[in-house]
Symmetry: C2
Subunit: 332 residues, 2 copies
């Protein structure tokens, strides 16, 4: 029989099926055949993007010329604009403000064809360090309340360009799902004086069956209340609320487990489209006892879109422990 | 410049673009070419479904034989099982229960090729009345807390069968998004002693620019804080918290506006895949002052899936007032 499982953080209920027959091969994945057009993110085409905000360069190459290893540029078609004031106002029952924010693109490496799963650990570390540096830099702007780092890979996951890239959005409001996590973990803390994420990590490490990978500072597991097959989280083993406080040694550890997990997914699910997002605490907060940053990974394998959107009710046909077993046993 | 708009009910923020250039023709829609297999929902194939729960029949035809106009059957592959007890329990930080619930399919009409948009009003009325009757019947089962009626049309909206059908799920828990609406409208009521939905309807009717259709009992409009292009709501003009209290005359009015709106969408967007869901108050509640039932319609036009899923943050490129204008001007 299926189980109804409740997320201890957000209170979300998910129907988790017990379909032992499901195998990774059963999911349709879209092809990532590369187009023939000119890529604005490839070296030599630097003029096709807005001027770079920052780049990691070898030797003495000039900005907006080749020679970079990672490159950050403003999004050419930003969802939000950086200039202006918020001007919060109301129209009857409604509230609104101007669409102020930052929308940046992190071009992960010069090679059009090498995704994170294909890189060396030290190359992924450069990307992670770049996420951190941009987060710290944008903290200075007092209009912003939240910084969201995420990656869309593949058309069906919302990516419009092929060249390996991640995105960063600085928002003047806290996104709803983050807000829910904050409130939920606060409630748990009020009751138990412990971080719910820390308790979860401890329980998962003890139980073991949903753990996929672990290293010095991080653990990767498929959550007990996964909304999607092969969803996973990467989370610091020690309590840490803010991603931007990442130390160099932790970044090395994070880069390594991220690359490993994406490789496992690529092998076992034949290179599926996916999204990942980093949930961290809001900018105004200093070190928080009741929140714990983490990365959430969701492959695009199922089509059950609108119903879940409209209800917040998810049906996951596959037990997370089974997904974890497949990921663990991947030949990487 | 884009606007950040806040949903007065759930508190959700949406980035609403101001792209005047967007036209309905710009969205890709999937084809609904019919397959050649045998349809388990077509007359003559009644034995291919579990035995019918109820059917509206012409004359004296026997159950599970042709002659029906609408037919309700248990879902052959239910997400939840009707037999058993919930057995709520915990495993450390996690809560779970058995997957108990009802999952029914409402086969809307005998014709494989006629969707709601193509029917006569009295035929749609039969479907709506069937939704209501099933809701009332399932109220009797004290294990259930919520009844959700919804429709998936088209593969990308999650439909696995072509024959026109809707679904009903009776749940032992209240889905998260409904819970959020309940809490949000309760907060508004505590502050203002008015129903937030009633206030919204009044403001929309006065403003007029997001209204698409209106009849005696219902109004259809594109919400100020639409998450998707061409999203719309149908809502009773007078306060009513529970869908199952629908009177015959209101059902006539509801059927008519639903058919009209689906026809407008079909014409203007070239028959897109879509979902609709009916949000109503939980089963335990009697008439509620602070909640107002409504239907939410979401066409599948955009691909921005995972990011929105992970954050609860939506980017809608099109102003709802522009979508309303297109829908109003559709030649139906």
């Amino acid at each position: 029989m299926a189980e109804l499982r409740r997320d201890p953080i957000t209170g979300r209920w998910v129907i988790v099926g017990n379909d032992k027959e499901i195998r990774p091969e059963d999911f349709e994945v879209e092809s990532h055949e590369k187009g023939k057009g000119i890529c604005p993110f490839c070296p030599g085409n630097e003029a096709m993007t807005p001027p770079e905000i920052i780049a990691h360069r070898e030797g003495q190459t000039a900005p907006n010329t080749p020679g970079w290893l990672t490159r950050v540029v403003p999004n050419k078609f930003p969802a939000l604009q950086i200039e202006g004031s918020l001007n919060k106002r109301g129209i009857g029952v409604y509230d609104l403000s101007n669409g102020i924010g930052a929308h940046e693109v992190i071009i992960e490496n010069p090679d059009h064809n090498r995704e994170i799963a294909d890189l060396y650990d030290h190359e992924v570390e450069r990307i992670v360090w770049c996420y951190r540096n941009r987060s710290i830099d944008l903290r200075g702007d007092k209009r912003f309340k939240y910084i969201l780092i995420f990656k869309n890979y593949g058309k069906s996951a919302g990516a419009s360009l092929e060249h390996p890239h991640s995105q960063l959005i600085a928002l003047p409001v806290i996104p709803k799902r983050v807000q829910e996590e904050l409130r939920g973990s606060q409630r748990y803390f009020e009751y138990r004086e412990r971080c719910v994420f820390c308790d979860m990590v401890k329980q998962e490490l003890q139980d073991g069956k949903r753990i996929v990978a672990e290293n010095k500072h991080f653990v990767a597991f498929t959550p007990f209340v996964s909304c999607f097959p092969f969803e996973f989280w990467i989370i610091p083993k020690e309590h840490e609320s803010d991603f931007s406080y990442l130390q160099r040694e932790e970044a090395v550890s994070f880069a390594s487990i991220l690359r490993e997990m994406l490789k496992r997914v690529k092998v076992i699910l034949r290179d599926p489209s996916f999204n990942f997002i980093i949930h961290t605490s809001p900018l105004e907060e200093m070190e928080k006892e009741d929140y714990h940053w983490h990365l959430e990974f969701m492959p695009k394998l199922t089509r059950l879109a609108g119903f879940e959107w409209g209800t917040g009710f998810y049906i996951n046909p596959m037990r997370p422990s089974l997904a974890a077993r497949y990921l663990r046993e991947a030949k990487i």
